[in-house]
Every structure is written in structure tokens, then in C-alpha cells.
């Protein structure tokens, strides 16, 4: 261990509390019993699709399209997941085939 166990525990606790507080902020602002403003209700409904779109981009953020392999493995695998899912609508199938295809692409093809 590079530092003492006490300091290590302290770091873990601080990281844990910071993460928890980040997740708890909306619940601290809009406490139980208080009426939730209409704007927040609207945001609560409109945010999830936008956030999930943002998470897709977040997962692909390190892909470089200007250097080899130009994001091709990601493009092919993402397209495969979308097509397969629209066609069969089976979560496990889409994710399983997409992941195995991607692994094959990055390990063997590119």
C-alpha cells in the first residue's frame, strides 16, 4: 500500500459520501411533502431520453474518427445493435451479439 490504511479508508469514505451527495441533491432540494414545481415535473419526464442519448455519446467519447480504424468497429457494432433491436426487440440478443461482434472486430479484424 502506498499510504496508511487509515488514510486509505478516509479516501474511500470521502469518495463514497461525495458520490452519494451528488445522487441525493435533487432529493435534498425537493424534500418529501413539499409540492414539486410543474417545471421540475416536466423536466423529470423529458430528461430520461435526453440523458440516455447523452450516455450513449459518453460511452463512445474516446472513439477517434481521424485515426485508424476511424471508429469503424464502433460504427458497425452500434448499427448491428440498433438493427437487431428494432427487428427482434430482445434486449439480451441485441447486447450479446453486439458485444461479441465488437470484441471480434477489435481483436481480430482491426
Amino acid at each position: 500500500m502506498p499510504i496508511s490504511p487509515q488514510l486509505s479508508i478516509l479516501i474511500i469514505v470521502i469518495v463514497g459520501i461525495t458520490t452519494f451527495v451528488t445522487r441525493a441533491i435533487p432529493f435534498l432540494i425537493f424534500r418529501d411533502g413539499k409540492k414539486i414545481p410543474e417545471t421540475v415535473k416536466y423536466l423529470g419526464g423529458a430528461l430520461p431520453p435526453a440523458v440516455i442519448g447523452m450516455l450513449v455519446i459518453y460511452c463512445l467519447k474516446s472513439v477517434s474518427i481521424v485515426s485508424f480504424p476511424f471508429g469503424l468497429p464502433e460504427l458497425i457494432a452500434v448499427a448491428a445493435v440498433v438493427v437487431l433491436h428494432v427487428w427482434k426487440r430482445n434486449n439480451l440478443l441485441s447486447i450479446g451479439v453486439g458485444t461479441v461482434l465488437y470484441m471480434f472486430l477489435v481483436q481480430v479484424v482491426f
Partner: protein
């Protein structure tokens, strides 16, 4: 008492199939965390403690760097807050559902990762299962996968029997599936498009390390200023 316990067993059985994609993803990205942490000199017990007390993918990856002499604790707080800042959004959509969950509420907030949050919006809860127990089951199962993954990584170290390069795509695929599912079932596609487009634009403008906060601000501003349009589209389609 028997009836209540039966309710939980049923909820866990019903929730399990929905969590399998997260099981796959968390086992592998959890393993990667365990490997990184044991390379720093922390054995599997430490990895387990951290995955129980923190439970955050990118947050724990980042945190591995903090275990070094001369660590600045204020900087730890600031960096962890920034890397997890997207989580501030998640509760806004769950204020009412969580507030009915009594004692479970604190754990539900604590365990609100990207993957658990996303699952709440695509899983159709079976009619004969209690909604709150079902959501609790999803949250707890996901964390168990994460703890297990990090323990495996810390024990097995770098002796992983096969080349797992690219397995983390399971997480990307999970979000794509959830995105497509949302797209096919929702009345308006505007919020989904806003998320994708602002994400891409901010990624190009601010770079991969700094784009999440600007993306969040843009999404908020656009959703708020386009509220009339989005609500009209929902209403006209509902007619």
C-alpha cells in the same frame, strides 16, 4: 411476514432477467477496477469495501489515482463531484417514485448508477409484482454484480484466462438498446434527439474530458426553452 418475504422472492425472480445485461457489463468493468486497485497494493477485501461504500464505475476508476502520498482531500471531493455530476439529473425523474419507498429510499438514492437508472425507464414491471420491491431488487442485484466483479478482478489480478478486450462494449450496447426502446415507445422524439445532438456537438467543442457538464447545461436550456413545443407535440400525438 411470510407473505412479505414471498413478495421479495417474486420481485427478485422477476427483476433478474432485466439485469442480465448489467450483470455481464458490471462483472467485466468491475473486474477491471479490481485489477487496477490490486496493482496499487490493495487486496480483494479493499476492493469489496470500496464497491460496497462507493459503488460508482468511473468514480472508482478515478479514485484509484488518489491512493498516493500527498493526496489532496479537497481535490478528491472536487474531482469525484465532477466525474459524477451527471447523476444530479437522475433523481429529478424519480422524486415521486422514491418518496413512496420508505426505508428503502436511502439505498435507492445511494445505488442510482447510470445502468440502474436506465433500467427503471425501460422495464415493464410485471402486474403481479410490487413495483417498489421490483425496483429495489434491480438496484441491489446490480450492486452485487459490481461487488462480485471487483472482487474477482482483485483476486485474479492480471491472470485473466482470455482476451477480454472490447467486452466493455456491453455497457454501450445496453444504453443503445435502452435508447432504441425509448425511441420506439415514446410519443415525441425531441428529448432523445436533443440528448444525442447536444452530446455530439459538445464533445466536438469541449473534448472528451470536459464535455458532460456543458452537455447537461445545453440539454437543460433547450428542454426548458422548448417546453411549449415538446408538450404540444405530446398532446397532438395523444389526440
Amino acid at each position: 411476514m411470510e407473505k412479505r418475504r414471498g413478495g421479495y422472492a417474486k420481485a427478485f425472480r422477476a427483476a433478474f432477467p432485466f439485469t442480465v445485461p448489467v450483470l455481464t457489463g458490471y462483472l467485466f468493468i468491475g473486474t477491471a477496477f479490481g485489477v487496477m486497485f490490486q496493482e496499487k497494493g490493495y487486496n480483494f477485501l479493499w476492493a469489496i469495501v470500496m464497491s460496497i461504500l462507493v459503488y460508482a464505475g468511473s468514480g472508482q476508476y478515478l479514485a484509484v489515482n488518489f491512493f498516493a502520498p500527498g493526496v489532496n482531500l479537497l481535490q478528491v471531493i472536487f474531482l469525484e463531484f465532477m466525474v459524477n455530476i451527471r447523476h444530479i439529473f437522475y433523481g429529478l425523474s424519480l422524486l415521486e417514485r422514491f418518496s413512496e419507498m420508505g426505508k428503502k429510499k436511502l439505498y435507492m438514492i445511494f445505488s442510482l448508477t447510470d445502468e440502474t437508472y436506465s433500467l427503471f425507464f425501460v422495464t415493464k414491471i410485471p402486474k403481479d409484482v410490487d413495483e417498489h420491491k421490483f425496483m429495489f431488487a434491480i438496484a441491489l442485484l446490480d450492486q452485487l454484480y459490481w461487488i462480485t466483479g471487483s472482487a474477482i478482478g482483485a483476486i485474479a489480478g492480471s491472470v485473466i484466462p482470455f482476451d477480454a478486450t472490447g467486452i466493455d462494449f456491453a455497457m454501450t450496447a445496453l444504453f443503445i438498446v435502452i435508447f432504441v426502446e425509448q425511441w420506439m415507445t415514446s410519443i415525441t422524439h425531441l428529448p432523445a434527439l436533443i440528448g444525442i445532438v447536444t452530446g455530439v456537438v459538445c464533445l466536438l467543442v469541449f473534448g472528451s474530458e470536459n464535455f458532460i457538464l456543458p452537455t447537461m447545461i445545453c440539454i437543460l436550456v433547450i428542454l426548458l426553452s422548448g417546453r411549449k413545443m415538446i408538450e404540444q407535440e405530446v398532446e397532438s400525438d395523444a389526440d
